[in-house]
Symmetry: none
Subunit: 191 residues, 4 copies
């Protein structure tokens, strides 16, 4: 019960398999029967749960994006920008470490041609939330005054860059690295 994420559920099995394969080989590089195989499910079964391969990526995208949002911005604490930044960074680290595949997947879908309107809308909503946080902090003079989109691009981009530099070495980044990275990026954006 509770937050049951068991994989006896065929639908979940499909989504998990799809997540792994899309990360490894991309959307077009992954065949539906491959997803079925990995999910230990008949190929036809996938079409009981998703009307098409595109619908599958989109649902997957929305699910993971939502999980990411929930994990990172749920109940953002009040406090000064430094503390806020620390909390957000740490939560992103936790999410990215525990859900490496999910995080990579979300990164790869940036503006993919197969994402539908609903997915894009969700992305905009999430982006706005972050930008609002930035705007507030800027209004209080705690952050440098750049367009929120720019500031967010810097921070998120740097975060992804760190993840990637680790993936390349095939090694989870040490917590010391994460702390240093956090410090760097705080100095990057603080007023």
């Amino acid at each position: 019960m509770a937050t049951a994420t068991k994989t006896t559920n065929k639908r979940d099995a499909v989504m998990n398999a799809a997540l792994e394969l899309f990360v490894e080989r991309g959307f077009y590089g992954t065949a539906v029967p491959e997803i079925a195989d990995k999910a230990e499910v008949g190929a036809g079964t996938i079409y009981r749960y998703f009307p098409s391969k595109e619908a599958l990526v989109n649902e997957l995208y929305r699910q993971e994006k939502t999980r990411f949002g929930a994990a990172v911005v749920a109940g953002i604490p009040v406090g000064n920008a430094r503390e806020l930044f620390h909390t957000l960074w740490r939560r992103m680290v936790d999410f990215a470490v525990e859900n490496q595949k999910s995080f990579m997947f979300l990164e790869l879908q940036h503006h993919a041609a197969y994402l539908d309107a609903e997915s894009h809308a969700l992305e905009h909503r999430m982006t706005s939330m972050f930008e609002n946080v930035i705007k507030s902090a800027q209004a209080r003079g705690e952050l440098k005054a750049g367009t929120p989109a720019l500031m967010m691009g810097l921070v998120m981009g740097a975060f992804v860059g760190v993840i990637r530099s680790c993936v390349e070495i095939d090694l989870a980044p040490a917590s010391a690295d994460w702390k240093l990275a956090e410090q760097c990026m705080w100095e990057a954006i603080r007023a």
Copy 2:
């Protein structure tokens, strides 16, 4: 006149068309005949110049990576880290603005399964060059002391993040934005 870089050359036409389409739809999402259409060339013609679609991406990757390297690190000036960073950042901005497609393309190919040994070797060589620059500056105490891979991930990631935030708005970033971004990232990495 002069030795213009006109595209009467079919080989170049194919590479240019491939560049645009790979950026828009990805490698697997792009059909060879589409490349031919966009290049205004017969489908078979592509195979006079490239033995396969994979060979085409690889040649494209190496060409663009080399152009990027030449534009950014050619004759790195001596001087203190701040000046060096300024020069590199500005050159990257110039390259990314003038060759937005090329830059996006290079970003997307990170560790793609279809890149061959030669392409990976080139990537490693370029990465090493950057990391050596970082190491020197760290040795002189001008930069924070993180693994070079981490520092480079931060800076390149942030740079890409800025580019992306612009692509999303479909608008070239104002030079003021670039200056601010540079300042941010300098503060991020300086000792």
Copy 3:
């Protein structure tokens, strides 16, 4: 009823269609979709049963060669060479008449570049069997003393020549013709 050899089976339908087309137009002259059409099967279906067109010819070759061997040499009777020759010739006639396409197909594949090691091995095994029969008869002084390969080339070649002379007239050879041909070739090889 009984265990009829009906062609409801798609795999068999493909093999039968391929047999006819390969005989009529050759391996390279036959397109896979043509095989699919004649077999009344989707083009993709062929690839559920055979990994490639080459694998298809090879399986077909082995199947027909094995059927031929079983029909001709199964339980070779003991007795003098004349009787033995009579039996083998008659069995070959029966096989070639009832399976004209199969026989022509086997003839055409001689040393084809697309036959794989397994097919060649099978061919060698069958050839050896025939040559051994010839050697025994020669040892008993019942046949002329030429290399077994030569003797077999003569007899099999003549047999094929007869079949061909019929195919050209598009008419099954009369049994009288077969008897005469048998007599001719017996006189050709007898000591």
Copy 4:
């Protein structure tokens, strides 16, 4: 002068190259540019001399068939059937040994779908010539009385069988083998 068969002539170079390749890989298995390469001629040049690939095989077929006919039946000597058979067999051996490729080529084209009416007409004419020789000998009671087509199938088939048995061992048949084969086939057909 005289029977100049020099290969400075591009047309001949093409025919020679085509002959070799058609024997090795078959008609459909041979690409026109390959023929051009082997003939050391531009691909387009082939089309100055032959309107199409099919026209090329047909001209080649007719040329070689005619050469074969000239070499074997030119000035058939009078005399008894045994002597006649000896002469024809020896001439066929000479032709097949000196022009192995040509002989194999002619064999392979039997009823090929791409042979045109003219080629078939030539084949029929040549076949008739041989059959007439057979009929005469049968009329004189020197040969067994089977349909001429049958008798010719036997002899020509056996001849090809011998050639093939050698090709398989990759060794020209010894003249002793040819003599034995001749003796065998004479006994096969004599009255």
